[in-house]
């Protein structure tokens, strides 16, 4: 029983970061109809910033917010520098642009920093544990779940209660109609990228506290998981993205925990993707149904 509860908490902890990344992908998909394959590069930006700052002995109380700010700035910059110019183009062109950005990011880190992994110190308490009712939990898992819950509550508030959030939801449904109401396309899209950057930044801070290292292709693994989570939930659905992320994290950790050690354990990802394939046979639209968003 205790192993099962620990596995659930582990799974929610892992799934939380996927949920935050998938939510960001869904926000951008809503306003641009773009699956942004460069989204997880924001984790890499945060990782290298953390690496450079940590060499100057800056502690994690500063590092974590700095990572979030760097992701916001980088996200808005990608919109301004790359995506704005292809906004009216075909979905294929926008997709290729996001791929190009992802590859360019890898190349730039390799050329100007290093192709090898750069490690730095994480917070001292990350792997500390505590016990409740005979079950041992990691502080980091609890912190990850708590921070994610707070961020999701903030996200719900922003998109339900603020004019910016309502405008983004309106634009996700029918961008031209939102413009006819007076919503400025550039501001709505830049705001959506900033918010997606914020979500990716929080995810990056949580990931880097546990695995404090930077390398050019750091974002790639997370990208695949985040895109899959967003698709499981139904692309464009905010609730679906969160549910998809948590479900993916739980599935991964459960399979890793309960499959026999050795070969089977190494096939965890294959099992996860088989489960996803089975889901799409039953529900091709994902867990949550969304009306197709208009593209700008």
């Amino acid at each position: 029983m205790s192993t099962f509860v620990q596995t659930i908490v582990d799974g929610l902890g892992r799934g939380s970061t996927y949920a935050l990344l998938a939510l960001g992908i869904s926000v951008i998909f809503g306003v641009m109809h773009l699956v942004n394959f460069a989204h997880a590069e924001l984790i890499t930006v945060g990782a290298y910033l953390a690496y450079f700052l940590s060499t100057r002995d800056i502690n994690w109380w500063v590092l974590a917010p700095a990572i979030v700010v760097s992701a916001i700035v980088a996200s808005v910059a990608t919109e301004r520098i790359a995506f704005r110019w292809v906004r009216g183009s075909s979905p294929f062109t926008m997709l290729l642009t996001s791929f190009a950005l992802e590859r360019l990011s890898h190349a730039l880190w390799q050329v100007f920093v290093s192709p090898t992994k750069k490690s730095f110190a994480g917070p001292a308490w990350v792997f500390d544990t505590f016990e409740v009712g005979g079950i041992r939990f990691e502080w980091m898992d609890v912190a990850t779940i708590a921070v994610t819950a707070l961020v999701l509550a903030l996200t719900a508030f922003v998109f339900r209660r603020t004019l910016f959030g309502i405008a983004v939801r309106a634009a996700s449904e029918d961008f031209d109609a939102a413009r006819l109401m007076g919503a400025r396309a550039n501001r709505v899209i830049a705001g959506a990228f900033a918010f997606a950057g914020f979500l990716a930044g929080v995810a990056a801070a949580l990931i880097l506290m546990r695995s404090p290292s930077a390398e050019p292709a750091l974002g790639s693994d997370y990208l695949i998981k985040a895109v899959v989570a967003a698709i499981i939930g139904g692309l464009g659905s905010f609730t679906g993205a969160v549910a998809g992320g948590l479900a993916l994290g739980l599935a991964e950790v459960m399979l890793r925990g309960y499959l026999p050690e050795g070969v089977w354990e190494r096939l965890t990802d294959a099992f996860v993707f088989a489960l996803i394939a089975a889901l799409f046979i039953v529900r091709p639209q994902g867990l949550f149904t969304v009306r197709s968003a208009e593209r700008v």
Binding site: L163, A167, R169, A170, D174, A177, L180, A185, R291
Partner: protein, 236 residues
């Protein structure tokens, strides 16, 4: 207030408007009628900034706003109630109206929301309902209320009675008459040609891509020849 000069617009190779000129004076209700495919909606979409013309000018209060972004045009005092309403179905009625007040200050937006609740009791009663659950008539009232949230000088309406029951059509025409009486300038594109022209100060009859006739609304409404040639039947 609105002056359209020699406007030409196309969708790819298809010319939808050819050298169209027209005007709307302050306080007037002007109706544009014509058969399907005449370019009526294209005219409104071009004026509202959704479609860039290949030639010609759109002047709003003397300022050239040709091809301007729709969001800028809203700030300049123009609001479009688009064809098929295009309300935000996943947003509540209240959220639809809030986003439509995006150009106003917070205080003005609150005042306008209160005014909308009073003017449209049916919307007030369904304030927290997703707009996708409204009936056609309710959705049209929401679309019009939404356009009024920016307190526009000029309201463009594209087929506001399309798909509505006769009762709801009456409600919408009463609403248009009320807007007109209150001095709001209105440019109306409408399939119900006779009724629209009868209500209008002035009217334009379009044939594909062009203006075929113009004049006082009541005069155009009485011309059997126009109805027989362009509007599919007699006046009655």
């Amino acid at each position: 207030m609105l002056r359209v000069e020699h406007l030409t617009a196309r969708y790819g190779a298809v010319v939808a408007l050819r050298d169209v000129s027209m005007h709307v004076d302050e306080g007037d209700l002007v109706a544009v009628v014509g058969p399907n495919g005449a370019g009526k909606s294209t005219l409104l979409n071009t004026v509202a900034g959704l479609l860039k013309p290949v030639n010609g000018k759109v002047l709003l209060d003397g300022t050239d706003v040709t091809g301007a972004d729709p969001a800028r045009l809203v700030r300049a005092g123009l609001a479009l109630v688009p064809e098929h309403r295009r309300i935000f179905r996943d947003l509540t009625v209240g959220e639809n109206l809030q986003v439509a007040g995006i150009t106003a200050s917070a205080a003005d937006r609150r005042l306008r929301l209160d005014a909308a609740r009073q003017r449209f009791p049916i919307l007030d009663s369904r304030w927290d309902t997703a707009a996708g659950h409204l009936s056609g008539g309710e959705a049209q009232q929401l679309a019009i209320a939404r356009a009024l949230m920016s307190d526009p000088k000029l309201v463009l309406l594209d087929e506001p009675t399309l798909g509505l029951s006769p009762v709801m059509t009456d409600v919408v025409f009463d609403l248009l008459a009320e807007l007109h009486e209150r001095g709001r300038t209105v440019l109306l594109v409408e399939q119900n040609a006779h009724r629209a022209l009868a209500l209008a100060d002035r009217g334009y009859v379009m044939r594909p891509g062009e203006i075929a006739a113009e004049g006082p609304g009541a005069e155009l409404a009485a011309r059997d020849d126009l109805f027989a040639t362009y509007l599919g039947g007699g006046v009655g």
